[in-house]
Symmetry: D3
Subunit: 246 residues, 6 copies
């Protein structure tokens, strides 16, 4: 099967890293196609940029999903994932949602490790939106300087210290937000006392699972397919899809 | 003061009706400027269209807010309102949020009257996002045919019946979603046993109130002003604002 | 319009300060009439005193509301506000409820700054009663000695430090309980990184807004007007009102 | 031991019936002293009357608790019970709270049977205030005409039908609000498929239990004894107690 | 009346201590019969051991309840209590549930003092299962070495320090998990600022109360008596009871 | 990989059907080993039988897990799944938990279709225990006679009607409890307007996913491996495992 990974940021270097992580997580026979957001912020860091990203994700998903079995929305806020899920005939998985549900499947309470004070608020809102607040043991927003993102391996010790604090607050697992630290988390796992969950890895696995389940697109409810009707001023992908051309 | 009313739909006829309702609600001395979404659906009716609308609302708010004291986001899902609140230096009010908070100020539980089965799910999600689920006595999604929107007065009896059912389920007030039925609700109020809350009217009042309170733009927290940084491929309004040109 | 401000305490000096704050917050053309609780504690500080105050607020509101457009109940516990709302034909606003709803309108989570360990419990209960616990980012009970109330300006630094701790715990706004620190909060606002919300100011604005909305007294639900019937041993205000003499 | 039963209504006939129910529930050696509210409504039926009743309950409890081991507050809203608990050196039990906690002790979800649409809202609020909403399977407000209260036995069939509907909605027990139907519920119990809980009976048992536990009056927290300080314009009981004369 | 106390652990020394505490709490005329779990762990300390204990409690309760008026399940996780409540014709009370409900009856928020980090998670889950999370002010898991259980009096200071921290976090009462520290808590009560609640003591009182209430075994709902049907490979007690032989 | 499917019931015919469903759901290369509960009820239908089943599941898992990559606990109450997850070094998945998390991954609210009034209460409790109550749109307990279990295909119409009612109450997906109707649900899927989720199918997929993720057994938190210590009177599987012999 072919999975489309849509980066909510416009930075191709991030897209390449997402693709590499996704390929590392995919089953044999799963092909990964990764695209950047066609417009918006280089790295989404505000509510406004997230709103733009949601639209960009939708456009990218509309434009590139043909021939794919499922879509992974790869941005820590899951921007546009719910709308894409409604819009497309194939499963759509957000990376944070996938990590949270995997944490639930492992049992107990999860810790949430995010980066920057601003992200703490979004993360709480997102967990609340998924109805999973009662499962969150603790949230910690690490102060990650740009250098940390450029050299994730050099950020290993602060990450481990954050994990330890979350465990001390009752976390049975730790969801590490975003995709920047996927690689280092993998190498740190042996030193961490609980499972570390990287969203891209969880999302690829969950997307493959949903594809294998072969469930139909709903014909009722709030995720049902919608009759095509034109919208103005949108990109080629959405334009075609909403007109019913695809 | 001047209030900017942003219609999340692209239909100018709706914008004109919103402007008329807003003008009817405004205090003497308040001027209403109303604009349509610069791109997106004629009438937003799906999650995908709502995602596009959020971006469009942001673009319109960025483009037209100069000289205004506050912004009213006029679409029943409050699409883009939180992001605009973060982005802009002036208060931003969503019509449904304003109606819900006004209902809370009146005491007890509110009923929520919306239109179409699909909107029921969104509405519950929106109320949950505002942390107000415990205040909702009941929700009812009326089956409103296109004719109802074209001739709201002809839809008076179904509206009153819906209100009555919500009251029977414990509603002390009734929030009527969207703006289509603002006028008829006003004329039906004498026949309704509890206050009927129209979002546009509530939002105009709340926007005026927030302006008068004169609170500063936060410098911390998740709604703080953000440093300008460029984004790619967005409209003139967002482009200028995010570049720090305004 | 004329607004009746009812102090839940019997101390006239507090009433005078409340009136001054209310006048500072009122729109041009709004007249403020302020009265002290006719019986009860000098300064309410226990659950028992609060219970007496609720009755006293009701009596004062019944006695003095004639000719007024709305009532502001000015005590941090909103004692008697819900009952007065049911009883009177005009809008009734509690100062803490008004500040909480204004905080919600500004978006995100609010911090709650109260005074004394005992008040922490009441405040959590009150926020819970309004169904807003999910919106509270953090609560802090400052240890405010009597000197702080006598010289609020001298208490500025502890207040700012409390605000800073609340912001560090995710507060996007800070509700400052009671009315004692309304003035100093106003002067401290430029040094605070998020909006500081004073209940009296918020309540006056919300009362004006509700008056302008012109909604009818409910005829159904739990705040509906009730048929007059006599009660024994109550004050002249309640006696007359409940007998249907007014 | 001697238990003080305080009727929140001023009607002596109700007080006599409460006393009879309490005596029927008391252990051998427990003496029941019952008093009516010293002021307020004949039968509390509105939020305003409930607010007055809370004060009246407090006054009665202050005046009559000397020599008693515990107090039972006998009104379906538990008016004044929390304040009396703080104020007095002995345990205080509300009848609805006692029935709810007994229902919890029996396991599963409880049904709540109350009387009149207005009481439905109060009851939900009360259950919420006790943090027990998640345990309530269903609530039903029976339309009980005055005749039902005058002749409770004649109201047996509607009561049983209400119980049946609550059980169909998942109730494992049924709390019957107030004290009016205590007697008939006892005689109906054999025909009811789940335990029927009468507040007065539960409260007498719980008061006896708390007395036997012999726990000390808290010296910290929000129910700690408070230093005596004068209040103005209150009755002889509260006046003496708050001045520290007792 | 005769109460059966079932220890969920297999250690007879603990059973003896439980019996002593129960006898100290019982009313005159109440006889205590205490039995150890017939199989399982010496001292339950894991989820697996708790699962075994639940079955063992059920077997012991089935085997020994004849002639008893009620059963007290004496293990901090209340293992098997809900199932025994369904199975038996007499009231069944868990010690932690009883302590939590007694804390609720005393008003305000409770603190929960447990022992060992692992128990913190179980305790939160248990409180959540009873729907009482909103009443829990704080939870603290003390690090109690084996020596503490062997010499509870020597652990007095850490216990008092834990109580003080819970009170500082808003606890109006403190539930002390398990039965190991029942004795020392009693002797420490004078030095503690809030009531300390020992589960065995609370459960004996509550069991006596439920017996006195004389409520019938439910014939409907999820705790109704169930038709006897054979199970394979269980102990003599369950075998006989489920076959309908008792 | 080899998956162990543990039936919580002792009926081998059910085990065979579970194995068949699991084999139908498994990926190529996944081998299914299915065992019946070694003791307990033929078909679990009460809380007591469920408690016995939890122990039996644990014993079976301990006895048979060697050489397996993960365990699926196949009983609608997920009896023993959490304890087995703590106990074993490999992933453990409950069928209802897996179906609920899959429903969450599909977005929106799920409907829950269960069988028999008694099961409704358990199901609500189970969903609450997983912290997912906010995601449940509606629950329906169909009255399924024994004939329905014997001839699931003949029960197709009632199942579809139940699904339709859940969808009308806002369900975006429907979890069908237990395993009895897995086959018929599959054949009914084309006639159902939303995805029907069978727990065994979901659990097999999720178990495979967890195995592929290769996460380590936690060394901290409430699911950490526990030091071996003897228990008395348990089966050969648990005895050996808890003694550290495996």
């Amino acid at each position: 099967m072919k999975l489309l990974v849509v980066n909510g940021n416009t930075t191709d270097a991030i897209t390449a890293r997402l693709a590499a992580t996704a390929r590392g997580a995919a089953s044999p026979g799963t092909e990964i196609v990764a695209v950047s957001a066609p417009f918006g912020a280089a790295v989404v860091g505000t509510r406004a940029e997230e709103t733009i990203a949601a639209h960009a994700v939708l456009e990218a998903a509309a434009r590139h999903h043909a021939g794919c079995a499922a879509v992974v929305v790869a941005i820590s806020t899951d921007a546009g994932a719910a709308a894409a899920r409604e819009l497309l005939p194939i499963p759509v998985v957000g990376i944070t949602e996938a990590a949270l549900l995997t944490a639930c499947a492992l049992g107990g309470g999860f810790g949430f490790l995010t980066f920057g004070a601003r992200a703490a608020a979004w993360s709480r809102e997102l967990v609340g939106r998924y109805g999973l607040s009662a499962r969150m043991a603790a949230l910690e927003a690490l102060d990650a300087p740009p250098a940390a993102f450029a050299d994730p391996d050099g950020f290993a010790e602060p990450l481990l210290a954050g994990v330890a604090r979350l465990v001390a607050h009752g976390a049975d697992t730790v969801v590490v937000a975003g995709a920047a630290f996927a690689g280092v988390c993998k190498s740190l796992q042996p030193r961490a006392p609980v499972p570390l969950l990287d969203g891209v890895t969880c999302a690829v696995g969950q997307a493959e699972l949903l594809v294998r389940l072969g469930l139909p697109k709903p014909r009722a409810g709030s995720y049902a397919a919608v009759p095509a009707r034109p919208v103005a001023g949108v990109g080629a992908g959405l334009g075609a899809l909403l007109k019913g051309d695809t």
